[in-house]
């Protein structure tokens, strides 16, 4: 079996939140979706008008492993595993990016956040947060994370959050790539954008950090092996485990917080997916509904909507693909059927 032809996009994904992640005020006009073909060979940017849900689903071609992030007034389109490029668009103007640049080979960009006018990029294959000027794409340095390297050359930085205190919080997964991607711990680091230095860190197993619009200074943390935590960015305190995945009864795959709650996507041991709701004050969980789809990107907008990408699932290959919309406060579905795009969504953000 010649292996090189079977290299698949298998790195963990990133689900981006929207303007809430950057603190930018104002109502969003549209969802921008990175959609991907069923065989993950090609992708396209799509937009959905948030008033009419009118779809424009083939705006421009992108890679087969993309993500979209809105931050700092830009739409970032990341081409991840094996592509390692970034396009920067003016929201709504997708005919041509204002900048496009390549990262290091096998960088595998996961997330980006604009801080002090510069884009801080997490690259899963690197040992830094790369810093680029989003207007030109020029590299402006980086944040050294090699102190958190678990021995394989990368601490696997993934999701980023810009907190109200002006600092960037990054979840470092710390897998050992040399031993079959086994988890070796996990760390959350706090980065000062001006000095580009790590100013604090907390141990947390395989952490993902999420915006928490209901309490922006409390970064929502989910650990793949344990459950939910809160990181108080003012005091620097990481809470004890607040809600265990064992209580949820499934693995949490994506999180989008809104108000006092969060909509989450989960999957069980048989890769059956579901949408559920976490009460961020009582720290309880309620499953909203099972899904016949493979659920991918999830994000909340400032209208209180949570959008979820729904793709073909092996058990129900005939289930319609598209974007599912839930009410962030009530956790009720606003769509009877997915908002259909030619290629199924993989990542979603709002502008």
């Amino acid at each position: 079996m010649t292996p090189l032809l079977f290299a698949v996009a298998c790195a963990p994904k990133v689900d981006e939140t929207a303007l809430v992640a950057t603190g930018t005020p104002g109502a969003s006009d549209a969802a921008v979706l990175a959609t991907v073909s069923e065989d993950y060979s090609v992708g396209a940017l799509a937009t959905v008008d948030l008033e009419t849900w009118a779809v424009a689903d083939t705006l421009t071609d992108i890679s087969g492993d993309p993500a979209v992030v809105v931050s700092g007034g830009y739409v970032f389109q990341l081409d991840r595993f094996g592509y390692d490029t970034v396009r920067v668009y003016t929201p709504g103007a997708f005919s041509e990016p204002i900048a496009e640049f390549a990262l290091e080979d096998l960088a595998n960009p996961h997330d980006v956040v604009v801080c002090d006018g510069l884009a801080f990029l997490s690259a899963y294959g690197g040992a830094e947060l790369a810093v680029h000027d989003p207007r030109t794409g020029h590299r402006e340095g980086g944040v050294d994370l090699s102190a958190f390297d678990d021995g394989d050359g990368s601490p696997e930085p993934s999701r980023l959050v810009l907190a109200p205190n002006g600092k960037v919080y990054a979840g470092l997964h710390q897998f050992d790539q040399g031993k079959g991607w086994v988890a070796t711990g996990g760390t959350i680091v706090e980065v000062d954008c001006a000095t580009r230095a790590v100013t604090n860190s907390w141990a947390a197993p395989t952490p993902d950090v999420y915006d928490n619009p209901g309490a922006p200074s409390n970064v929502l943390v989910h650990s793949a092996s344990t459950g939910f935590y809160l990181l108080d960015t003012d005091s620097g305190a990481l809470s004890d485990l607040l809600l265990a995945d064992a209580t949820i009864g499934a693995s949490v795959d994506g999180v989008a917080a809104w108000g006092d709650g969060a909509v989450v996507t989960t999957f069980d041991d048989a890769y059956g997916y579901a949408v559920g709701c976490v009460d961020l004050t009582a720290w309880t969980y309620a499953e909203a509904e099972r899904s016949p789809n493979y659920l991918t990107g999830i994000a909340a907008n400032d209208r209180g909507e949570v959008w979820i990408g729904a793709r073909t699932h092996w058990a129900t290959p005939g289930a319609p693909n598209g974007a599912l919309v839930y009410d962030g406060a009530s956790c009720e579905a606003r769509t009877d059927a997915p908002i259909t795009t030619l290629l199924a969504p993989f990542s979603v953000a709002f502008y």
């Binding site: 079996m1 010649t2 292996p3 090189l4 032809l5 079977f6 290299a7 698949v8 996009a9 298998c10 790195a11 963990p12 994904k13 073909s37 069923e38 065989d39 993950y40 060979s41 090609v42 396209a44 083939t58 705006l59 421009t60 071609d61 081409d79 595993f81 094996g82 592509y83 390692d84 490029t85 396009r87 005919s95 041509e96 990016p97 900048a99 496009e100 640049f101 390549a102 080979d105 096998l106 794409g137 394989d152 790539q177 040399g178 031993k179 079959g180 991607w181 795959d253 999957f267 890769y271 493979y294 793709r311 073909t312 699932h313 092996w314 290959p317 005939g318 030619l342 290629l343």
Partner: protein, 664 residues
């Protein structure tokens, strides 16, 4: 090169359908004598010295060869729009990828060890005990070149090939004996120049040319065969060994510096052929061993550090008994085979449970003749497949019938009308059924990919008394493929194979060969219409990827007796799509290659200078954003068969060859 073209006037004799290859080699396939759509290409002096199996196969109508690079790099073939795995590649009838277990890298096969290459575009002969959807490429050792010879080639990218052979017929007492030994060493740095846009179509500032790194290949092939006895009672033993060590360059945008793959393959076979009166038969047994060591400890290929050792074995036997009468030639064939695959993580020393299967293929066939006018050849065959190992319980036995039939009508000796219809299949393989240890989750519910194919055609040859010899062939085919196995990603790290798609392929194939004492020409033109019948709107009714609509091959040679030959090859394809959405189109591409060979005297060495890709085409211009019709900007991209794996530019090779007997 097509065997009819080989029929020099002085040698064609009186039976036009009995072409020269048949006269020299009674077991050869004669296109005029079979209903099958088959192209037989002799490996002889008509081919340029740098030819490999891939280039030879690509010269046949209906074939599309896809490469990951240049000489020595991975190459595989699609026939009539099939997937690569739907084509069976066999070495003297022994399958190298039984039941489509993998696609065969044609660059691993030493072309000059074989006497001819037979390309069946459907309705393969029953003695192969296989019913592949895409057809069969059967490499035949035949009688081999007689005598002793050697050749050395050297050229661009430090590409070198050294070949030596000895084929000595003799006798022990009154028993004829012959031995054939061929050894071929091949090596290349493979560091050709390619255009790199760094993966940023909109950013032209980082575009440039780069050298393909870590693309070196070293390969040693040894092909040995001994035969004892006359054809009526002959024992043959064969050993074909390959040792190959290669760098894996990876995707051009993420080139790998140290990843490597080492392959050892050994094929051992023994056969006994007998004939008595009008009865004959053959019993063949074989063992195939293939070891692959992948070393990507640096994780350059992108799925983390890997160091694996994979072993695939296949043990099999085929027996056939035939009866030849004037009106009917019935035959019974029975083939049994056991395949096993095991993967070991070298770093941890953990070996996966071996996967195994046993395949039984019985078939009954006959050639039913009405005088010399009509021959009807029905074949009723079946495949019985059982799996063993740790996951055996989850997959029951597979029983599938693959009946087919062919008809050959010879209204006049110079004309053959052909028709074939049949049902073909590719069963799911180990990974598809049981998964691997990582990305693929097995699906024991998978059913085989099926193909229902029919074709009609005509083949005409010139009368033997003509000064200029030639042949013309025209055919039409349809192939309806159902239950194609498609991988569906089910989470970030896992995907599941499903029987999801159907496809429709039809086309027209034409071939014209002309041969005179001073001139040779071969033209193949194929038009293929392929339609993806996927229920997915993104793929529905699209053209199948990498299957061009038009494909042209033109080979022309001027000869000055046996002393000199000047050849030119032109290939053209009208562009195809890279992906199932049909968003990305490769531009039409045309390649010219030339060679000049001088051979002063029969016992002198010949010298040949060859230039591949004469015009040094390595880039093409395509729309920047195929989804936006208002964007009329164009971009430059490297020419590739697979995105990320550029193809090389001009390649110059110089070859000196010598042998004790002059070429045929």
């Amino acid at each position: 090169m097509v065997c009819l073209a080989a029929a020099a006037p002085a040698r064609a004799q009186t039976a036009p359908e009995t072409v020269i290859v048949e006269a020299d080699n009674p077991d050869a396939t004669a296109p005029m004598a079979t209903s099958s759509s088959v192209t037989v290409i002799e490996v002889d002096e008509r081919l340029p010295a740098s030819s490999d199996v891939a280039s030879v196969v690509a010269s046949a109508p209906g074939t599309t060869v896809q490469r990951l690079g240049g000489l020595g790099d991975w190459a595989a073939v699609s026939i009539r729009g099939s997937t690569l795995r739907q084509v069976l590649v066999a070495l003297d009838g022994v399958p190298l990828n039984p039941d489509g277990a993998d696609s065969v890298n044609l660059s691993e096969l030493p072309l000059w060890a074989f006497e001819r290459v037979e390309i069946f575009r459907g309705n393969a002969p029953p003695e192969l005990a296989a019913s592949p959807i895409g057809g069969v490429v059967n490499l035949r050792t035949g009688s081999g070149k007689r005598g002793v010879g050697a050749g050395i080639s050297y050229g661009s990218l430090r590409t070198a090939r050294v070949t030596a052979f000895a084929n000595v017929p003799g006798a022990v007492g009154r028993v004829p004996v012959d031995g054939l030994l061929l050894a071929e060493a091949f090596g290349t740095r493979g560091d050709f120049t390619y255009f790199a846009d760094n993966g940023t179509e909109y950013n032209l500032l980082d575009d440039g040319f780069a050298a393909r790194q870590n693309n070196d290949k070293r390969q040693l092939s040894v092909h040995a065969r001994a035969r004892v006895g006359p054809r009526s009672q002959r024992l043959s033993l064969m050993e074909a060994v390959l040792a190959r060590d290669e760098g894996l360059p990876g995707h051009a945008n993420n080139p790998a510096a140290t990843a490597s793959l080492t392959t050892i393959r050994s094929l051992t076979s023994g056969s006994f052929a007998w004939g008595r009166g009008n009865a004959s038969g053959e019993l063949t047994g074989w063992g195939l061993l293939r070891d692959e060591r992948l070393d990507d400890r640096a994780g350059e290929l992108g799925v983390g550090a890997q160091q694996t050792f994979d072993r695939t074995t296949s043990l099999g036997a085929t027996t056939q008994a035939r009866l030849a009468t004037p009106s009917a030639s019935p035959a019974i064939t029975l083939s049994a085979r056991r395949d096993q695959y095991r993967s070991t993580d070298v770093a941890s020393g953990v070996a996966a449970d071996p996967s195994g299967r046993v395949a039984l293929t019985p078939s009954v066939s006959a050639d039913l003749r009405y005088r010399t006018l009509i021959t009807v050849s029905p074949v009723l065959s079946a495949l019985i497949l059982t799996h063993d190992g740790a996951l055996a319980a989850s997959a029951g036995p597979l029983v599938a019938f693959t009946p087919r039939a062919g008809a050959l009508v010879r209204p006049v000796p110079q004309l053959a009308l052909k028709a074939n219809v049949g049902r073909y299949l590719r069963p799911p393989d180990f990974s598809e059924l049981f998964g691997d240890r990582g990305a693929i989750i097995g699906n024991p519910e998978l059913t085989p990919e099926h193909g229902l194919q029919w074709d009609v055609g005509a083949r005409a040859i010139s009368p033997p008394e003509w000064t200029i010899q030639g042949s013309f062939e025209l055919g039409y085919f349809q192939n309806a493929v159902t239950d194609l196995i498609v991988y569906v990603q089910n989470s970030q790290r896992t995907m599941v194979p499903l029987n999801l798609e159907d496809a429709w392929i039809d086309g027209v194939e034409g071939a014209l060969s002309v041969q005179a004492s001073w001139f040779e020409s071969l033209t193949n033109l194929t038009r293929t219409r392929s339609i993806n019948l996927s229920p997915e709107p993104q793929y529905a009714n699209n053209q199948l990827p990498r299957i061009p609509t038009w494909d042209l091959f033109q080979s022309t040679a001027l000869l000055a007796g046996d002393g000199a030959r000047v050849g030119h090859t032109f290939t053209y394809s009208d562009g195809n799509t890279w992906d199932r959405t049909n968003w990305y189109h490769a531009a039409p591409r045309a390649y010219h290659s030339v060679f000049v060979r001088v051979h002063p005297a029969a016992r002198w060495p010949s010298a040949e200078l060859e230039v591949l890709n004469l015009t040094d085409r390595i880039t093409e211009v395509v729309p920047r954003n195929p989804l936006d019709p208002s964007d009329d900007a164009l971009i430059v991209q490297p020419i590739t068969d697979f995105v990320g794996y550029p193809l090389p530019g001009r390649t110059v090779m110089l070859t000196v060859r010598w042998q004790t007997e002059p070429p045929k």
